[in-house]
Symmetry: C2
Subunit: 300 residues, 2 copies
């Protein structure tokens, strides 16, 4: 169980297991296009925190479901996350050349390949979830598909991307930013926890508390992201000359709206609030509590 | 039952029912982005033959499943088809300004909106299929999701788009073109029939014959498309001055490889062949037989 390890160990174990699972799922079959698969592997298997798989696996653990039983679902949600990054980086969207120090998909390959690799990863996530290898009970498989599709679709993540783009270079309220954050990041965080809870056959009451926790953790994560972006620490920038001017100043950022001090206060508030939701689970939720501190203190 | 009508009547009824279902499924909810939904509706509800929904519904009918029981699945496959057209038309892909006389999504809106509308329609298809409203049996829902995701993903349609782009402006064999056609069009035709068969709880033997039929119909459809494209009839071009030079001469086309005469012979051959596969179903398959002639004789 991931649950019994230290956070550092748990994150490491989880990322190794998910990496192996994703790699195994992305193997070349006959009559398949190797170029497309190469692009899918390039983005999906590149370095990442694997926070969504970690949340999913840990929440399943919380209700007694062993790690191995949630690896397929964990890979599926990471594929959806990867697709969203590939499409988000496209010239017509955020137009980013690098992601975590590596070339973005359209820079490494080309735009057409990046669009199709994203499409393919998204589609594959649902193929994986529909398979009996993911869970023996088809009703649970349908539940997982419903949660993931709803949270990542036009009422969730994609809607967040759209509103984000529509409001670029506009002055918007902090409430509107919070809504964009909830849609772009929170929805998939909530889906990760809910999918884990479904695999662990948790009660509705359990799910409710996890949902609140995941909602706050998502906001926390995104505000921290904005702060790191503001400080120029993200995207491999650490040189002091480069951090004087915020990178991506055209991006929606809570820091630009409420200032760095208020953003840091928000972080503290959300830390407390998300921990409150976990009290319901008692000591079992230790690792999730530690995760809150990890997310708020991270430096990359 | 669609099955008992004349082909013309059946196609008409089917397109009305599917249009209504798609429209009902794309209704604005609270906290949703209206711009994104507008783009989704613009492409999904624009004029179309609705061949894939027709195949799905007719095949379900063939095994006794009423039309109403397969409308959700029919809408889902049309959403996937629509998403593929939106992304295919993008500047980085085929770079088309018009589709069936209307502006393409990225021309009507912008590239970011088109990418996201495609993503959202693809994701929504799986949400619909996971719902108990689509079918009461979760095992059947999982089957439908598996068929649609596999046929439209990196082993199916998306792979076809990739190989198509990779081979643009290259001289390739007719076998390679047939493979691209099978992946780009045939896979979704086969999926339509198989999904209908699953809803109708058809036997494996039934499914096998339908698969062969759909495979040949897909090829037939695509060769006819190439012929119409070659003649300049597609995309609203009918003026004799405009049809002297083939439109989209950089596109993969069977006509450019084997010539117009051989392409017409292929059409005849595939007509006969696909009708042979339907003999197994006897008189019940009348409307599918008529569909073969309709596809091979169509002028748009």
């Amino acid at each position: 169980m991931i649950l019994d390890k230290s956070l550092k160990e748990a994150l490491f174990t989880c990322s190794i297991l998910v990496q192996k699972k994703m790699s195994d799922l992305l193997i070349l079959e006959e009559s398949q296009d190797s170029h497309l698969l190469e692009a899918m592997r390039y983005s999906a298997l590149s370095e990442g925190k694997r926070l969504r798989p970690f949340l999913l696996i840990t929440c399943a653990n919380l209700f007694g479901a062993p790690t191995i039983s949630s690896l397929n679902a964990a890979a599926a949600i990471e594929f959806v996350h990867t697709y969203s990054l590939i499409h988000d980086d496209l010239p017509a969207m955020d137009n980013d050349d690098f992601r975590r120090g590596n070339l973005t998909s359209h820079k490494k390959f080309d735009e057409a390949t990046a669009i199709l690799a994203g499409d393919a990863l998204l589609t594959y996530a649902f193929e994986i979830l529909s398979s009996a290898k993911t869970h023996e009970d088809p009703l649970i498989r349908c539940e997982l598909i419903k949660i993931l599709s709803r949270s990542s679709g036009f009422r969730g993540m994609v809607s967040g991307q759209m509103i984000d783009i529509e409001n670029k270079n506009k002055k918007i309220t902090k409430e509107k930013i919070a809504n964009i954050h909830r849609l772009k990041t929170g929805e998939l965080f909530m889906a990760s926890c809910e999918m884990g809870a479904v695999i662990g056959k948790a009660s509705n009451e359990d799910k409710k508390h996890l949902k609140y926790f995941a909602h706050d953790l998502g906001l926390l994560f995104q505000i921290k992201d904005d702060i790191l972006d503001y400080k120029g620490i993200k995207r491999g920038k650490t040189d002091i000359d480069e951090i004087t001017k915020p990178k991506n100043s055209d991006n929606i950022s809570i820091v630009h709206t409420i200032g760095i001090e208020a953003a840091n206060q928000q972080i503290e508030l959300l830390c407390d609030q998300s921990k409150t939701h976990l009290k319901y689970f008692g000591h079992k939720a230790r690792i999730l509590n530690e995760l809150i501190d990890y997310v708020s203190l991270r430096s990359s």
